[in-house]
Amino acid sequence: MSKIEGGRYLTFMLRDEYYGVPISKVREINQITEITPVPKTPQFVEGVVNLRGKILPVVNLRQKLGFEKVVYNRETCIIVIEAEMGHVGVVVDAVREVVDLKEDQIEVPPNMGDETAMKFLSALGKQEDRVIILLDVDLAFSEDEFTKSMGSFSKSA
């Protein structure tokens, strides 16, 4: 849990919750575009997109955290994150704002039992009126995570 430090975080929405990632890990934010699905990839991998000549994998964060998938709308965005394996596009419901969190506004999350979602939470950020769930980007988008949940070609397998 070395990631708990004050700083600027980009906040975005999933369901009705606020999430945050360190701004230093964010490369850019794009509107949702056409995503090319790729066989034999984990379910949460939406496919690949072209970002100015580079091919990036796109992860649906809802599915990654074990939530149900929703139809994209005008607010759906792809946040391009700098992970260890390279740039990864992350589909989120909507992007909110950049917030400044002081060290005393950040807290280790209490154990709440939900394994899938909890695994990638590094901390909770507290603001007057809301709680921001801070994601451990390196852990969530590590190469290991992709390989571990590698998809198969056949439904029965």
Binding site: P39, K40, T41, E46, K54, I55, F153, K155
Partner: protein, 641 residues
């Protein structure tokens, strides 16, 4: 092209390449100082010295080659005992590197400046002696000690031979037609005379005797310029060298390609936007039209930057083989085939060293001496063939000779001696190919003596590491007593892919054009199910297996919830792409053929490899498309069955 121009071109290429390599040399040298694992850096430095030695000798820069040989001698010792490396040695090697650079830069502008490395050479020799006396047990002396005096003598002979050859070359050119026969090249006034007769082609002719004379400690002849210091030499370079070769990191070219690709996409969006396509503003329409043309041109030219025919590499090989042939007195009939084959620039650069090493290796170790050939009932004139061809998604380059071949037992014995055979493997159970692969192990060399061509066991090591960098393979076939073939197989997938865009199960995919034999149409009724092995098509009376990729896709989970519409199956004719695979022909059913396109293939990065796709690319309309890898596709069919 006259032989003089040709030699000049080779020299230029060598100088450019060597200067480029010196960057690596210095980098590794500096890294060595702080590194915990010196072995890797020494290996790199050693390879640079080795390449300079070989390359310089091939184009006739004997002093450079000689000096590099000395540096290599010390490096050989250090490779075995890296713990001996100290700051003093690193400093010495940095000065050695400076001298290399100085000389290389000098030679780019003038071939008759002096170069004094006597002091450094003495220092190198001092360390070599020092190590040899203390470390005699650790190093196999036979492998690394080079008798200095006889070596120098040998080089003089070579030089003389080279000169004799040059002389012949010169005679054959028109300017030289009227020139009196030059008996002795070492006489200054005759060099002057030559110089005045030859126009641009002269410098290297003068340079040859100059370098020899320098070794002999005879005062130098400098027909025009006074001795240029390093600064002066560098200054001159900027003025004199025209038509320079631009050496650009391929990553930069890729970056430009990325941006250009994006411009193409944006241009297409502009072209199809309402404002432009309605054509109400004539001026705007005109500008966009012109822009369209220019951008297409730009795109094509950028794509072209990366592709290079093998021709220039082949000419270098030709020269090397010729020189070695003269030097070793092994007459050879060299055949070069397929020099028009184009490879990606990055592949081209990685191929240079390995091919050179392999050609030298073939001449030095593969082909026997004249006497030995006659004794074995072979013609005196050996045969060496270097052939390149594109096969499917790869380029295959074969270097074959009719020499002595590789004896499995000899290789195996040496491999066991060197401890290269893993304990759990039984030597007698290894396949020939496995045994031959030991030849590529670092430090392996079955040659008994060290020459300045090959025989230190680095050559093949370099070959393998370079080929692997290009994601290729090297294979050896050999017939003891009859000859050997070294085969390099390098994929083209890193470069531009020309392909056909098809729709399968509502998705678009690209099939590389070189794996497509033909496109045919069949009704479902004409496809035969063969037990549970799969389906076959009868194309011109030949049974062709069908790759049921569509079925595989539709059975898979990847499209679930991704709003993809599948095309209704009907009894109408279906289109099949007949693919040329390593296992033969196969037919891939597709929904529709959408067109042809040329794209820059990018690695498909989704956290783990998906062998069915060689990469992804962006089409002109900005959409991303996956490129199918037909061979893996056929495999995946087998896996699913």
């Amino acid at each position: 092209m006259s032989d003089d121009d040709f030699l000049e071109e080779l020299k230029r290429d060598f100088l450019n390449e060597a200067l480029f390599m010196m960057e690596q040399y210095e980098e590794s040298m500096l890294a060595l100082e702080s590194s915990q694992e010196p072995q890797e850096h020494i290996g790199r430095i050693f390879r640079v010295a080795h390449s300079i030695k070989g390359g310089a000798a091939a184009v006739g820069f004997e002093d450079l080659s000689h000096f590099a040989h000395k540096a290599e001698d010390l490096l050989t010792l250090l490779r075995v005992t890296p713990e001996k490396i100290n700051t003093e040695i690193i400093t010495l090697f940095l000065s050695v590197g400076d001298q290399f650079k100085l000389r290389l830069t000098q030679l780019q502008t003038t071939r008759d400046a002096s170069w004094d490395v006597e002091d450094l050479e003495t220092q190198l020799l001092k360390w070599i002696k020092n190590f040899q006396s203390t470390e005699a047990s650790a190093v196999s002396l036979a492998d690394c000690e080079v008798p200095v005096s006889s070596e120098a003598g040998a080089e003089d002979i070579t030089n003389y031979e080279l000169l004799a050859q040059l002389e012949a070359d010169i005679k054959s050119t028109e300017q030289a037609a009227a020139k009196p026969v030059v008996e002795d090249f070492f006489k200054p006034q005759q060099i002057e005379e030559l110089k005045s007769q030859q126009k641009e082609a002269t410098p290297e002719v003068v340079a040859q005797p100059a370098s020899v004379l320098m070794e002999d400690k005879v005062p130098l002849i400098q027909p025009k310029s006074t001795t240029g210091g390093p600064a002066e030499g560098a200054h001159k370079k900027a003025v004199v060298v025209e038509n320079t070769i631009l050496k650009v990191d391929s990553l930069r070219v890729d970056a430009v390609l990325d941006v250009v690709g994006e411009i193409v996409v944006l241009k297409n969006q502009l072209l199809h936007s309402d404002v432009v396509s309605q054509g109400e503003n004539q001026r705007l329409t005109f500008i966009v039209d012109q822009l369209d043309k220019s951008i297409r041109d730009l795109y094509e030219k950028t794509l072209g930057i990366r592709m290079t025919p093998l021709r220039s590499l082949f000419t270098k090989l030709q020269r090397t083989v010729r020189d070695v042939s003269v030097k070793l007195d092994k007459p050879v009939d060299l055949q070069l085939l397929g020099e028009e084959t184009e490879v990606d620039r990055s592949v081209f650069e990685l191929l240079g060293d390995p091919l050179m090493h392999m050609a030298r290796n073939a001449m030095d170790h593969g082909i026997e001496s004249k006497a030995e050939r006659l004794q074995n009932g072979k013609p005196e004139m050996a045969k060496l063939t270097i052939a390149a061809k594109q096969v499917g998604a790869s380029v295959i380059i074969e270097i074959s000779e009719d020499g002595r071949g590789i004896y499995r037992d000899k290789v195996l014995k040496k491999a066991i001696e060197k401890g290269l055979v893993p304990a759990h493997l039984k030597p007698e159970e290894l396949s020939d190919d496995q045994v031959y692969q030991f030849l590529f192990a670092p430090g392996f060399s079955t040659a008994e003596k060290v020459t300045d061509l090959s025989g230190r066991g680095v050559g093949l090591d370099v070959v393998k590491s370079n080929i692997e960098k290009a994601k290729g393979q090297v294979r050896i076939r050999s017939n003891p007593g009859k000859g050997s073939t070294f085969e390099i197989l390098i994929p083209l997938t890193t470069s531009i892919t020309d392909g056909i865009v098809v729709a399968i199960s509502g998705q678009r995919y690209m099939i590389p054009i070189h794996s497509i034999r033909e496109i045919v149409q069949f009704r479902d009724a004409e496809v035969t199910q063969v037990a549970n092995l799969g389906r076959v098509l009868k194309i011109r009376n030949k049974l062709t297996p069908v790759i049921d990729f569509r079925q595989t896709l539709e059975n898979s989970t990847f499209l679930d919830g991704k709003n993809i519409k599948l095309i209704e199956k009907s009894d109408a004719q279906k289109t099949y792409i007949v693919l040329e695979l390593s296992s033969g022909l196969s037919a891939l059913p597709v929904d529709e053929v959408l067109g042809q396109s040329q794209v820059v293939a990018k690695p498909l990065q989704v956290g783990h490899p998906v062998p069915e796709f060689s990469g992804a690319a962006t089409l002109g309309d900005g959409r991303t498309i996956l490129i199918l890898e037909p061979n893996a596709l056929a495999q995946s069919k087998v896996g699913a069955a």
